[in-house]
Amino acid sequence: MERQVTLIALFAALIAVLGLVPKFALASGIPITAQGMGIMLCGTVLGARRGALAVLLFLGLVALGLPLLAGGRGGLGVFAGPTVGFLIGFPIAAFVTGLIMERMRGAPVFPAAIIAAVIGGIVVLYIPGILGMVAMLDLTVTQATLSMAPFIPGDLIKAGLAAALTSALYKARPSSVLSRA
């Protein structure tokens, strides 16, 4: 119990710290941040339930007014903003990522984690994200999806990094990777 709570708190903090990594621009000029990688890591390392709890803890602190979202955003305002769909999608994404990771227990960590991170951290995350933009900005689904397309290459890179990190962590500290424990 104590171990699970501290690891959940640690990964909530990790999402915040990754939000502080300076953003860099891809060739397309669209800035990408490392925060999404934190969501993926919550799933791949902590598993479904605990990963989602870590993300919920992080979002709770954002709602309470800590500027922990990438770019120093935070407070209740972000939950009234157009990106609220992504915030709702964060815990779902971590949960699905963790679920796939747990279901693929038989597979080696790296390929399992990359599949889990792409499906959970990109496909599953984009669905509520895009629906949120449709609802808040009155766009059509096509328009909202088109606005998101430039972010896909960056998110694929993040999924690869998250998987590499998970697999390295599993080699160094197997007992801390709760999705495989």
Partner: protein, 201 residues
């Protein structure tokens, strides 16, 4: 710990956090229900008025927090301009600005500790049902502490990299930073268990 609570004292700081949150909920529902340009203009004027009461510096700070919204305002106006429905676009953009600004106002005028207290108050019925809510409060404190510690350790490892390599530190430092953090968390867990942990009694 850095929070978004404003340093500028306002009359709103004195209102109870729970009351402000309830008011915010009601106002946001109102913004969604009202659907005319006139109502949205009026709502924005009212919100601007609320921000002006404590003075210009407070209004400027509020505008700073609104920065991420402008991109989406531009996006909405662009798409609606293309479909030839600028009026609908304006209503949506104005609603967005008012809703985000109101929520930011609650954040700017409420202390972090007071908001945590509202959360714990909301969780109290769960505790009565026998759910152990102590770990939730504890986890909040842990995250607030872990963030600066992790940043410090990351800075040390990045300095160590810089001292040894002419290249910029990149993904290679990610694993050591994660390992140090995970080991720290395991130590904290051990220390917690040694002191009795989360037992309810």
């Amino acid at each position: 710990m850095l929070t978004l609570t404003s340093e500028i004292r306002t009359p709103y700081h004195r209102i109870r956090a729970g009351a402000k949150l309830a008011g915010l909920c009601a106002a946001t529902v109102g913004l969604v229900v009202l659907d005319s340009l006139a109502a949205m203009l009026l709502a924005n004027a009212a919100v601007a008025g609320l921000y002006l009461v404590p003075g210009r510096a407070f209004l400027r700070a509020g505008l700073g927090l609104l920065k991420p919204v402008w991109f989406f305002v531009a996006l909405v106006m662009l798409w609606h301009g293309l479909t030839g429905d600028l009026m609908a676009g304006a209503v949506i953009a104005l609603r967005l600005i008012a809703a985000v600004a109101l929520a930011n106002l609650v954040t700017m005028t409420s202390r972090f500790d007071d908001l945590v207290e509202v959360v714990m108050w909301g969780l109290a019925p769960l505790a009565r049902l026998g759910v152990n809510t102590a770990p939730i409060g504890f986890a909040i404190v842990l995250v607030v502490r872990f963030i600066p510690v992790m940043l410090d350790k990351a800075r040390l490892l990045i300095d160590a990299w810089r001292a040894r390599s002419p290249r910029r530190p990149g993904w290679q430092v990610a694993l050591p930073i994660t390992l140090v953090a995970v080991d720290d968390a395991e130590h904290v867990a051990e220390a917690l268990r040694a002191r009795g942990g989360f037992d309810m009694d």
